[in-house]
């Protein structure tokens, strides 16, 4: 029984970071109907940035969020503005955007490999080496921090969307783009902003990831698969959905990892994706209407 709880704890600990990783992607899809296949590549980019800051000026990776988030925010806004803003009215938008973001992911991967080579990296702050124990259970300190920070950020984002004027504008654009225009929302600007926020979340995730996992340029491929499953399972566009599905699947994967071996764990995500597509394609919290 103790073992079961321990497995659950380890699962929940990771679920927080996964949720942070998926939150940006689901926001971007919700507002602009863009499937950002480069999202995990941007996360890895941010992780490398955190790594470089750690190596260069010994900056604590958690604190590096103060840099990675604004940097990724600006990159996100520029990226959207340059590539997508003017194409939003094109009827073949969906196909083209997916492939463009896919190509972007490759370019980022290659660029990172060129600069940093393919050696596995990780940042090693002090807290990455210890675990907290309480009673018969333990949780790695790094994962606990990551969990807390992730939840704080996601709740913060949710509050922002709920209670600020701009947040409401973003929600409105997600729910009915035309009506948002009608009440005077500048949907193009809101879209650009949302992409920036989405990538800012990716930036935070990258900083946290840097000490929770090891990473290398090609790792983004494995993570995009996972993030996609989480986003589809939760319902594309739903922040709550991303949170719930992340915790659910992380815990499930934790069990799979324990009983079948760590190499089988990723399969949990893919199986969950196909199951949800079979029975409830719009995800747990998604809407039936397709964008």
């Amino acid at each position: 029984m103790i073992q079961v709880f321990q497995i659950v704890i380890l699962g929940l600990a990771l679920g927080g970071v996964y949720a942070l990783m998926s939150s940006g992607m689901t926001l971007i899809f919700g507002v602009m109907r863009i499937v950002n296949l480069a999202h995990s590549a941007f996360i890895v980019m941010a992780a490398y940035l955190a790594f470089w800051l750690f190596k260069a000026i010994n900056l604590d990776p958690t604190l590096s969020m103060a840099i990675t988030m604004p940097v990724m925010f600006l990159i996100g806004m520029a990226y959207y503005r340059i590539l997508f803003a003017s194409r939003a009215d094109n009827p073949r938008f969906v196909d083209i955007t997916v492939l463009i973001t896919f190509a972007t992911g490759l370019i980022i991967e290659g660029g990172l490999a060129f600069i940093f080579t393919g050696i596995y990296r990780t940042t090693t702050p002090e807290y990455a080496k210890t675990s907290y124990t309480f009673g018969p259970f333990f949780i790695p300190q790094s994962q606990l921090y990551a969990l807390i920070i992730s939840i704080v950020l996601i709740v913060g984002l949710w509050l922002f969307l709920r209670y600020t004027r701009i947040g409401n504008a973003i929600r409105a654009t997600m729910q009915n783009r035309n009506a948002a225009q009608v009440v005077g929302v500048n949907v193009r600007w809101i879209s650009t902003l949302s992409f920036g926020i989405g990538l800012a979340m990716a930036g935070a995730a990258g900083s946290l990831l840097s000490f929770v996992f090891t990473f290398y340029p090609a790792k983004h491929v494995a993570w995009i698969g996972m993030i996609l499953c989480l986003v589809v399972l939760g319902g594309m566009g739903s922040l709550v959905g991303a949170l719930v599905s992340s915790f659910l699947l992380a815990t499930a994967a934790s069990f799979v990892s324990f009983y079948l071996g760590a190499t089988w764990a990723p399969i949990t995500f893919y199986l969950a994706l196909f199951l949800i597509l079979l029975f409830r394609p719009q995800g747990l919290f998604g809407k039936k209407v397709e964008g």
Partner: protein, 248 residues
């Protein structure tokens, strides 16, 4: 001195053909205009151009003496021209109150918006009752009322409605039209596009027939209603004269 002057407007979507082909129209203030016409004639396109959602390719639109063609939607809203799109267009996962608050989006003053919302709740008690329910749970007629109320938050001088009776039962549609008539009595200028030509004209002062991208007809509504050509083309010819307006 008209409130809204549309001068020889040419417009279309994307790189497609011209839908409006040199349309001119003057909307006098405090009057209700109803635009009727066949599908594809450009009725919805016209409203979108006026509202700032579509840029005209040629021509000019003036509102209260100021040129508004080419302005963005929020800029048009600022000048006192509101738009109620067809198909209600509420935000389905926001409450009625949040929807109304979005109506006041371009006003930065939250308290002012709240005051206006309270006034609207007095005007539409059913909305007050449903104020914290999700918009998608409302009935068709209630959604349409909410849509209109949302457009009224800014206290516009003129309001444009695109097919307000779409998908509504005759009784509910009549309620909507009564609301519109009340607004007009209180001094608002109304521009209406209606597929249900008869109902629309019965509730308007002036009828405008839009065909092939230009207006072919602009008369007092009652004249338009009783014109035999209009009857044949758009209203469906009647063998016997009209009994009451409630017959459908």
């Amino acid at each position: 001195m008209g409130t809204l002057i549309i001068d020889n407007v040419v417009a279309g979507y994307g790189s497609g053909p011209n839908i409006l082909k040199g349309l001119s129209l003057t909307v006098e203030s405090c009057q209700a205009y109803c635009i009727i016409g066949p599908n594809g004639a450009g009725k919805s396109t016209l409203i979108k151009v006026i509202a700032g959602l579509l840029k005209p390719r040629e021509g000019k639109i003036t509102f209260k003496g100021e040129v508004i063609s080419g302005l963005r939607a929020d800029q048009v809203l600022q000048r006192g021209l509101s738009y109620v799109p067809s198909d209600r267009s509420l935000f389905p996962d926001m409450t009625v109150k949040e929807n109304l608050r979005m109506g006041g989006y371009i006003l930065r003053d939250g308290r002012l918006v709240n005051r206006r919302i309270d006034e609207l709740f007095t005007m539409f008690p059913i909305l007050k009752e449903k104020s914290s329910q999700m918009a998608r749970t409302l009935s068709g007629g209630q959604q349409q009322l909410a849509s209109i109320a949302r457009a009224l938050v800014l206290k516009p001088e003129m309001i444009m409605l695109d097919e307000p009776s779409l998908g509504l039962s005759p009784k509910v549609a009549q309620q909507i039209f009564s609301t519109i008539t009340d607004l007009r009595k209180n001094g608002m200028t109304i521009l209406l596009v209606e597929q249900n030509a008869r109902k629309g004209l019965q509730n308007a002062d002036v009828g405008v027939v839009l065909d092939l991208g230009t207006n072919s007809f602009e008369r007092p509504a009652s004249e338009v209603l009783s014109d035999p050509r209009i009857q044949e083309l758009y209203l469906g010819k009647r063998r016997e004269p009209l009994a009451t307006e409630d017959q459908e």
